[in-house]
């Protein structure tokens, strides 16, 4: 199991656990973490599972790569930063055990 903590915009913390190999989007939806929509079903097609990776984890998760579909979509999202990623594109494994993700105020 991999532990992930989602931090809501108002500061509430949602620690969840999920089996290795699932994505951060699935970890949020299966555990009813508010603020992650994931309309497209996790296919990197809608940008409604936008999260900010905690700065202390961004090196391990990795930044967006230029020209990727994920980057193409996130350019239209609101309030993006250097640490912005789509939760559906973050696959959880032991390396990311303890990961902290911040959920934006709204998904667009």
């Amino acid at each position: 199991m991999v532990k992930v903590t989602f931090v809501a915009h108002d500061g509430r913390r949602f620690p969840v656990e999920i089996v290795s190999g699932m994505t951060a989007r699935e970890a949020a939806l299966f555990n009813d973490v508010p603020g992650i929509d994931g309309d497209c079903g996790g296919q990197c097609a809608c940008a409604t599972c936008h999260v900010h990776v905690d700065p202390s984890w961004i090196d391990r998760v990795g930044c967006l790569s230029d020209g990727s579909m994920e980057a193409d979509l996130l350019q239209f999202a609101e309030g993006t930063t250097e640490e912005s990623r789509l939760a559906c594109q973050i696959t959880l494994d032991d390396r990311l055990d303890g990961l902290v993700l911040h959920v934006p105020e709204q998904q667009y």
Binding site: D39, C44, A45, A47, D72, E78, E105, Q106, Q107
Partner: protein, 425 residues
Amino acid sequence: MATQAIPQELDGAELARAVAGIPLAEIDVARPSLFQSDKVGTFFERLRREDPVHYCAESAYGPYWSITRYNDIMAVDTNHKVYSSEAKLGGIAIQDMHSDQSNLELEMFIAMDQPKHDAQRKAVTPAVAPSNLLLLEPVIRERAGEILDSLPVGEEIDWVKSVSVELTTMTLATLFDFPWEERARLTRWSDVTTAIPGAGIVDSFEQRRDELIECAMYFKGLWDQRIDQAGGNDLISMMANSPATREMPFLEFLGNLLLLIVGGNDTTRNSISGGVLALNRHPDQYDKLRSDPALIGNMVPEIIRWQTPLTHMRRTALEDSEIGGKRIAKGDKVVMWYLSGNRDETVIDRPEEFIIDRKSPRQHLSFGYGIHRCMGNRLAELQLRIIWEEIQKRFHFVEVVGEPERLLSNLVRGITRLPVKLHAH
């Protein structure tokens, strides 16, 4: 063609039998009359089952592929590097843009590929992003309330004209900061943009062209007033003051305006009407809504799926490719039928039914997916949520008292008239 030979009065099982008898190769789902009679769903059902990626060799729009299943549509929509939206290749609808009839070679970012699409879209996105919508919500709510309060209870009225058109026009005028008393012009320009000459809105391509040029001139006046004025968060000020859009040539200026007008008008209008129709056809769901108004947030995306206000988007293949086992050649016209994908029984549980507490109601195709996904999707949902919250405060029942009339169009799934009677609590 055999598709024409289906008698108008056929329905249900008889219609399905008649459709089953047509040779597959002769099926042309793009005939506007099939949408006006609302019979096209039976054709899509057969294609999904027997020939989900279907080639139609001869049609009024030339040869084209129909993509009818949810997952195949998703695959095309998210592969913008192979399936182009470029206007010069035909654009985004089955009817080619820049066909010589209209003479107006409009350019708009929905019908552009990267990188120009991205830059222009980014210029206008903030107007309809969630933080701006928070500012708009009280204005839209107040206007929605005023519209509903002005309606007579117990008399037959046309819901389309009295509510759907009014609310979307008011919202659009708010987004453009458009002169309030003149806002009916926005509705007219929206209708003219998507009109087929001779089908009731304009008589000729020349008339359409003249009216659209008039639209451009009107907006040019507003633009000139707002350029170099900092701080405006309306769509015109944003375009006039963004480096990506401030130097647009005339046809790009007009094209992008019309995109924003049509995008924010026809679509939401028809979802507002479609929701009333859906609830009347599913009285158990109406009861559910009455007993739990908190379901509105979940019902709104279900309305948008059920109505599917834009039936399709089209792409043009930039290279040879394969979809669902069929070989698509470079240059082929590929039509993603969202209306069919939203009824795909292999992805959506009981898709013909309108279920207001459906699980994952936002997993539908009505907004498209990928980089061209509807920019105004949150605004559309906001308007629908507000109107239904305000309806539920005031009326026990918006009763449909006659058959809806539908638009003759294979693109806009429009309801042109919906007679209703209002019942107070």
